[in-house]
């Protein structure tokens, strides 16, 4: 059961973050941060299907993680959920066409090892 939940958390978080990034990139850079402008911007993105998929995926991720920490120790759940960094960085490079240089890969590697240590 716990491995099914780990797999669900990783897949749902990855889908959620990648779709959110794609949806927000379609919307374009936010420049105005007055309450009215923020309201207009989020009313616009709320109709974007990528953002809708992202929000649903994040909800699945959230509840799966809650269930995971209920049946497994945090020292297992936290590093396992941080494993999303790997597929997300790969998708950022190959699907989102971002320039992922050695510093970003090295940073992700350091963070993954760091998360493992703080979870022990």
């Amino acid at each position: 059961m716990k491995w099914i939940l780990v797999f669900t958390v990783i897949c749902a978080t990855t889908v959620g973050d990648v779709c959110r990034s794609l949806g927000m990139r379609q919307h374009g850079e936010m420049h105005e941060f007055s309450p009215g402008a923020i309201g207009q911007a989020f009313a616009a993105v709320a109709r974007n299907w990528l953002v809708i998929v992202s929000t649903c995926a994040m909800a699945v991720s959230f509840f799966s993680f809650m269930k995971l920490v209920a049946i497994a120790p945090m020292s297992f759940a936290v590093p396992m959920s941080a494993a999303t960094f790997v597929p997300e960085t790969l998708l950022a490079r190959f699907l989102l066409k971002e320039k992922v240089d050695w510093r970003r890969w090295m940073g992700v590697g350091l963070i993954l090892v760091g998360v493992y240590f703080i979870s022990q």
Binding site: R25, G28, F33, F85
Partner: protein, 140 residues
């Protein structure tokens, strides 16, 4: 409150939203955890779960996580996912430090080493330009 679109404006805006994203994430999760610990097991019926939302700490946690979602979305409107994901991992460090300094929890040498590694990783990624693709475009 328009924010300028030049490089320094972009860096300022990115740093501001990164800090907001990290703070709301840590504060939201902490408030939610505190509330759920006070409630105990609310049961799994929809009425029980909705009832839990009216607990002050749970309500505060949910409100902060909504702000986290909005700041995270705003950040991703101009910054790369491969930048946002590692730099916001500083939330792990802040969670450890708040446990140590607010709750007086013990942090072992091994966990301090983890804090050091995550900080180094965040610093390294933070040195890269936040955006490598143009906002408003979709990858081909």
């Amino acid at each position: 409150m328009p924010v300028t679109n030049d490089q320094s404006g972009l860096h300022y805006k990115t740093r501001l939203f990164t800090v907001l994203t990290i703070l709301t994430n840590v504060a939201g999760n902490s408030a939610l955890t505190k509330g759920m610990q006070q409630i105990g097991d609310p049961g799994s019926t929809p009425a029980a779960l909705i009832g839990a939302l009216f607990h002050p700490w749970v309500a505060l946690g949910v409100a902060l996580l909504i702000v986290w979602t909005l700041t995270h979305m705003a950040l991703l409107s101009w910054a790369d996912l491969s930048y946002v994901l590692p730099v916001t991992a500083f939330a792990y460090v802040l969670t450890e430090l708040s446990g140590k300094f607010l709750l007086g929890e013990f942090i072992s040498t091994q966990r301090w080493f983890g804090v050091l590694l995550i900080t180094a990783g965040v610093f390294l990624v933070g040195r890269t330009p936040p955006s490598s693709v143009d906002a408003g475009t979709t990858p081909s």
